[in-house]
Symmetry: C2
Subunit: 232 residues, 2 copies
Amino acid sequence: MTGTLYGIGVGPGDPELITLKALRVLAAVPVIAYPATQSGESLARRIAAPHVAPGRTEIAIPIDITQPHAGNQARYDAAAERIASELAAGRDVAALCEGDPLLYGSFVYLAERLGGRFPITVVPGVTSVTAAAAVAVQALATGSEPLLVLPANLSEEALVAHLKTAAAVVLIKLGRHFAKAKRALAAAGLLDGATLAARVGFADQRIVPVAEVAEGDPVPYFAVVLARRSPR
Amino acid sequence: MTGTLYGIGVGPGDPELITLKALRVLAAVPVIAYPATQSGESLARRIAAPHVAPGRTEIAIPIDITQPHAGNQARYDAAAERIASELAAGRDVAALCEGDPLLYGSFVYLAERLGGRFPITVVPGVTSVTAAAAVAVQALATGSEPLLVLPANLSEEALVAHLKTAAAVVLIKLGRHFAKAKRALAAAGLLDGATLAARVGFADQRIVPVAEVAEGDPVPYFAVVLARRSPR
């Protein structure tokens, strides 16, 4: 009997935005794994902290987030083998994921490596996209409007081209790409009414018009921008 | 002291996919409201059923889902006034919303009518989009891929135009629009690998390739299709 690999969405930051299903799995598994920085900091682990019982085996997966996926292949290979040894011994492993495991999450890199060999179950989570809309009390999209989720790490030209066709948009992966994203929003006629939501659910939460944020202001990687062509 | 209007995401169907925050609000409010059919059936109320304590005042909002929003204005007006009378009396009201309140949810129609007069707090929920990806164990998008959430109630021409530019797409609001959506996927070169996820979290859950679903097959309104130009 091998163990099951669980991908657990722990939500966008507020520990109360975790689901009952995620809690049930967390209470049952003997092993948890989570992405971490080179120095061991893990947002997913911090969000789940109130819900992790003592005595669990913990596997931190050190990721260099300044690198594209190609630069972290060896780290995922090593983590997958460590997790595989637990699963092969019949122990279930829960991989903690910020937001949702399958929406731009790194869980897919574990699933690719382990999916053929072990059963996988994914527990979806609340994403930073809907959490940002909630604190801004702003509709993401309504009726027949398409909604575009757009990573800001694309080129400025690509951002402008996508934004020009968009009715409603959520920009993600901001961080050092914020200034470029702000220029692209302006070029596409979407700056007016665009809202930056940063550190949602934390004490230093910030909900401000993008137009009021200077291009040089530090913006977290996990912040999002909400914009609509016809804001309600 | 007026009451607060809460928009509560109850998740996509499985009662376990509700958050601790939603549970806390549900346990505290004296009044709940929810969209319902003309005959009183309510998916949101059914999802929340295990978590609603007895003795709550309940306000069903009968909506004709065959009509666009314009055809339901009077019904929202009446519901907003009924809710306003509770809020004015100092009683908090929780509006239950399938999935998330602000992602194509009807909560925005209550918020528009009541937002100026009463405080509003939104509790985000797990959406049918991430829940479908979870059961299919299929990434919605990764890296710098834009993700397009596309309502199938657009015209076939509009669907094809949007799909042709999309790297990763989730089609929503399917129902009677399924056959049109399937043709549009084929025309845009996205049919291969596209997955239909219907009734996710219910006993009759169905995860099948779109290519294997006949155009005349009944598909629920809340089903989704996941498609990617380069499926992992």
